[in-house]
Amino acid sequence: MIAVVALLANVIGMLTTWVHQKVTWPMRVARTTRLTLEQVRTGKRSVRDLAKTVAGTAGAIAVLVVLMFPIYWIFTASLSEGAGLMSTEGVFADPSTYNLDAYRWVLFESSFTDALLNSLIVVFVTVSVSMSVVVPGAYALSRHEFRGRKKILYGYVLFTQVGAGLSIATLIALYVLFVNFGLSNNLLVLGLFYAAGAIPFNTWLLKTFMDNIPVSYEEAAVIDGAGRWEVIREVILPLSKPGIAVVLVFTFLAGWNEFIVARTLLSPENYTLSVELYALATAGQYDTPWTQFSAFAILFAMPVALIYFFAQSYVESGLSFGGMEG
């Protein structure tokens, strides 16, 4: 858990190294290939040994290709507007007919921009509300001992890791109340709902990050005559910046990704991107506009995917919440 925060938090700093690594990989592959061929030629490495490695790697690549088939399909579909996708033999359209018409449709003719505005309103409420309660909460849980502290932490962890699907169970109760108070078709209320749901995970995340800030910094500040609020403002908050950035991203995703609550509470004019995506996907059983759907889906998922890909090596090594490695 601690590893996640520390590693994720370094993402921005490590970005340049990352880009360099990614961009230079063909050169490294070429060098390795040359060295290997050299070894085989001089007899340092047997052909048999090399063949085993090549076969193993090829097998792994084949497995990955099969696994990632849906991603490949959605990308090619989004480029195949009017190019006979799903009307001729073969899963994919002819690459020479690829075009960006579907993206043009999504951006200029569909309800994408209206829905984007709605999504951004919801996300803005979610991020601002949850940040304003997560940061103080995480600080208190990290630095102060008080009655009920452990119970709150336990509750937060359990609801985050095990009970994430319960929001739909509670939704039916909240729906009644929202409808009755006339709050059901309200983007601000929806944002507040997401903010409430985002609190446990993000408070926990930021708390573990703050646990790693040495207490000696605060002690030094106190000796220099800093009060409680100065310590928070001058020591805790500046040192927590990377952790706060990560929490910002996660609360953004909480508002951006959610679908069923938005779909249940909102009327069509207030639909967010995820609801519009669903509407497009289920437009008809046989006449779903696949190319347009694909372009819409990709534009919707892009911000999320970009965040993840920049953070991927950290996610990979770090997504081990609460000592899951056992």
């Binding site: 991603i71 909460g137 709150i152 039916i172 109760a173 669903y278 899951m324």
Partner: protein, 344 residues
């Protein structure tokens, strides 16, 4: 020390209260309270409200608030547990959980071993690719898979079947040419009747759910198992090899013990998520055909929002919540989920 508003509030309430609030540390409590209250008001309060609703005879949203409801005790639960629809839903939920869990473990273990294998080059990049599903919104993944399972003649899976059919037919043609003395035609059982309406059949829709659920959750398994496998010292494998242990033997005695605990723990968490799966059945075919594949939460949601049976739906949701509570208890008992709480 500056005396802020909060400090003064603390001091003031200290004076008024009969017990020593310094044990309470009001400052910390006040900082945590807004978040905790906001969370509880959207989580615990609705759960309490659900429990209350489940003991009334509320039907549609109006009656819930309008006060036209009567307290009926456990009648809804009695109705629920004698309703065959409930048992269908309950059974399919556990079946979904079990089947997808087994496949997740097998796929996760296989991929993790592949991605830590000495003979595979470029493992770092492959691991980055393998966890892609984790970085995509669930609604994106599920709608895309819905497209994959499209019942249209030119849906991706139907196209693959068409390719398979034509391959079989071509092969039979070649055999027919080679064996010129007899007429060979394709045996009927080798050909698939096209197009397949994946989401209209009960079990094909069920397998579509499972496929999507596995695709959503396998990265989590892979990450957990890879990190466990990397902790196994290479010497252990080498020692086993020296002792003449075959591949299977090493798998059972070296690899499995190393991943057992993390896999079990990841299984509890992912099983809890599967149990609460809503989006896949809802988006694929609303838990159809004819309500045969309604997972528990879908069942409850439909009864409330679509069929206006609020009290009944509340009883379903309370039952689901009770099982989620069981998963929470399991996670605490069997895993070290809350380890960080104690160590901090």
């Amino acid at each position: 020390m500056s005396t802020s508003f909060l400090d003064r509030v603390s001091a003031e309430s200290q004076r008024l209260l009969p017990f020593d609030t310094r044990n309470l540390n009001l400052f910390g409590l006040l900082l945590v309270a807004p978040g905790a209250v906001l969370f509880l008001s959207f989580m615990l309060f609705p759960i309490a409200f659900l429990v209350y609703l489940s003991m009334t005879d509320a039907t549609h949203a109006g009656t819930v608030i309008g006060g036209d409801t009567n307290f009926v005790g456990f009648d809804n639960y009695v109705d629920l547990f004698t309703d065959s629809q409930f048992w269908t839903s309950f059974g399919i939920t556990w079946l979904f959980l079990a089947v997808s869990l087994v496949i997740k473990i097998v796929v996760g273990l296989g991929l993790a071993m592949l991605l830590t294998h000495a003979r595979v080059v470029g493992k770092r990049y492959m691991r980055a690719i393998v966890i892609i599903p984790m970085g995509l919104p669930a609604i994106f993944i599920i709608t895309v898979w819905r497209g994959m399972f499209s019942g249209a003649r030119f849906g991706p899976f139907n196209e693959l079947l068409a390719t398979y059919n034509s391959a079989v037919t071509t092969l039979a043609g070649v055999v027919d040419q080679a064996l010129f003395f007899v007429a060979v035609s394709v045996p009927e059982f080798l050909l698939v009747d096209m197009p397949v309406s994946w989401l209209s059949g009960r079990w094909s829709a069920f397998m579509a759910y499972v496929t999507t659920e596995v695709w959503l959750a396998y990265p989590f398994m892979v990450i957990i198992i890879v990190s466990a496998l990397q902790d196994v010292p290479m010497e252990l494998h080498d020692a086993a090899k020296v002792d003449g242990a075959g591949y299977l033997h090493r798998f059972v005695h070296v690899t499995l013990p190393a991943v057992k605990r993390p896999v079990m723990f990841a299984s509890i968490l992912t099983a809890a998520t599967s149990f609460q799966q809503f989006l896949i059945p809802w988006i694929f075919n609303s838990g159809g055909p004819s309500r045969q594949n309604e997972l528990l939460i879908v069942y409850g949601y439909r009864e409330a929002i679509e069929l206006n049976q609020y009290a009944y739906a509340s009883a379903i949701m309370v039952t689901a919540i009770a099982f989620v509570g069981l998963f929470m208890w399991l996670a605490v008992r069997k895993g070290n989920l809350a380890e960080g709480v104690d160590s901090a």
